[in-house]
């Protein structure tokens, strides 16, 4: 897919989260966004996901400009799969009902069709045993996998992940990252923010480095990780790779 950001700015109170961000990633299947905490990664991702409206600038996804009216943003959100750090699932619904909700309510499937879709997906991703459990009865890793299944069940144009494993312990992290890598191998387009540099490097073909509200480096992941040019990036990589 292709992503073009043109002069995007976003301010929260006195704080400028994104400063005039312009970047084009011409062809990618998997885009990683890395950078220090508070740099603006989530803000950019939320704008791409249609959850936040920039103060200025515009965005094109696959050459289509994104219209920031609420009505078209709603349609935009319905066509992409978004997974946050945690608490993606609704606590009063079982895993199955969580996945069925958007299928039935938003995408107009009958309950029978939605049930069949869920069965097939749960079967494929080894979640069948947990289908009738509520989120509180699932491990953090299982919750995230159900959330990812909910995101792919709607056959989205692409997937968006914002630090999907940062609330998990190492074992569950591996389980979720394997899942995401599997989706990448299936050929799904995805954009992921992650603090896990090893994973970012392995899963992505293109990479953005965001710090202080700006994209300071963009390019092929091999280059961004292998031959960083920006001193802030060099510094950042040295710091996160030290341990």
């Amino acid at each position: 897919m292709r992503l073009d950001c043109c002069a995007i700015s976003k301010q929260f109170g006195p704080h400028q989260a994104l400063r005039n961000v312009s970047v084009s990633v011409a062809a990618f299947q998997s885009l990683a966004i890395i950078g220090p905490s508070g740099g603006g990664k989530t803000t950019l991702l939320r704008i791409i996901a249609g959850l936040e409206i920039p103060d200025a600038g515009y965005l094109r996804i696959d050459e289509q400009p994104l219209d920031f009216s609420e009505a078209s943003l709603l349609l935009h959100r319905r066509r992409i799969g978004t997974v946050f750090q945690a608490y993606n699932l609704f606590p009063h619904l079982t895993a199955r009902e969580n996945v069925m909700l958007p299928l039935v309510v938003v995408h107009g499937l009958s309950r029978v069709e939605a049930n069949a879709t869920v069965d097939a997906l749960f079967e494929r991703f080894q979640l069948s045993r947990h289908a009738d459990r509520r989120p509180a009865e699932l491990s953090g890793g299982q919750q995230q996998r159900v959330a990812i299944v909910r995101a792919i069940a709607i056959k989205p144009r692409f997937l968006i992940f914002d630090e999907p494993t940062s609330a998990l312990d190492p074992e569950m992290t591996a389980e979720v990252l394997d899942f995401i890598a599997e989706l990448r191998d299936e050929g799904r387009d995805l954009i992921i923010v992650t603090h896990n540099m090893g994973f970012a490097r392995q899963v992505s073909d293109q990479c953005l480095f965001i710090a202080e509200g700006q994209v300071l480096e963009a390019g092929r992941s091999i280059d961004v990780f292998g031959r960083p040019r920006n001193p802030l990036l060099t510094n950042f990589l040295a710091k996160v790779l030290r341990y």
Partner: protein, 256 residues
């Protein structure tokens, strides 16, 4: 055998034995109190008026049930109004809730009946009675509903937005189901309160349970015999509700 930490399961034998002990003690206290009375019981006269008791009791049930339904609607509207972006609406709801919660129900019934209903030419005292009860309970319910709505975390609203639910769909499928589950225990408590509070409608001559007992007392001069069935009649309604509340609470429970 009669000891068990709170929150732990209780064995059947211990349960029965303890209840028997409590019942025995209560019976002892009350039979002593009544025996000191030197009271000439006259149940004959009361039995004569059994139909009247039953009629009053049924009216109380009907009044309370209608007031519960109306108060749910009023509470829901007031809760939504308090969250409205339109400020006058929000403040009107606030004024309503605070006024009702800050004044006695008795005063509200009198003002509603003798001032408001009178001014608007509403003569049906049963209608005014149900209105007074439901406005009163609605104020409390609106606060319960509001805190239920606000307890649904922002992260869930964000998830709902991300999967493409509209605002109405979010309320329908995410917020309200959780509010309803939370609302079950306080709602049954509220219903019990409405039943007891409905006795105050006797002051505007609504012919409910309490008023009928008062009338029987006036006819027969048998005060205790008139009012003891009253206590039993209210308990007959409120006890099952409180038991039902516990069952529902368990049924709807889910960890967050």
């Amino acid at each position: 055998m009669l000891m068990q930490a709170s929150g732990q399961p209780v064995a059947r034998v211990a349960w029965i034995a303890s209840w028997c002990l409590v019942a025995l003690l209560a019976a002892a206290v009350f039979s002593f109190a009544f025996s000191q009375l030197q009271y000439g019981w006259n149940w004959q006269a009361i039995w004569h008026y059994r139909e009247k008791f039953l009629q009053g009791w049924l009216i109380t049930v009907a009044l309370s049930a209608s007031a519960l339904l109306a108060s749910l609607l009023i509470g829901l509207l007031a809760a939504l109004a308090r969250r409205s972006a339109f400020l006058p609406l929000r403040y009107a709801a606030m004024l309503y809730v605070e006024t009702v919660r800050g004044t006695p129900l008795l005063v509200q019934i009198l003002i509603l009946f003798y001032v408001v209903a009178n001014a608007f030419g509403i003569e049906n005292r049963y209608f005014v009675g149900v209105l007074a009860l439901s406005l009163f309970a609605g104020a409390y319910l609106s606060e319960m509903i509001r805190s239920g709505i606000e307890s649904v975390r922002d992260s869930q609203l964000e998830s709902a937005r991300a999967i493409g639910l509209t605002r109405a769909q979010t309320y329908r499928h995410v917020v309200f189901p959780q509010v309803v589950r939370q609302l079950v225990p306080p709602l049954t408590g509220q219903f019990a309160s409405i039943i007891k509070d409905s006795s105050l409608l006797s002051i505007i001559a609504v012919s409910e349970f309490t008023l009928n007992a008062q009338e029987v007392n006036a006819f027969t001069y048998s005060t205790l015999e008139s009012y003891l069935p009253l206590a039993v009649g209210y308990l007959l309604l409120t006890l099952p509700i409180s038991l039902l509340s516990r069952v529902l609470e368990r049924r709807f429970y889910f960890a967050t």
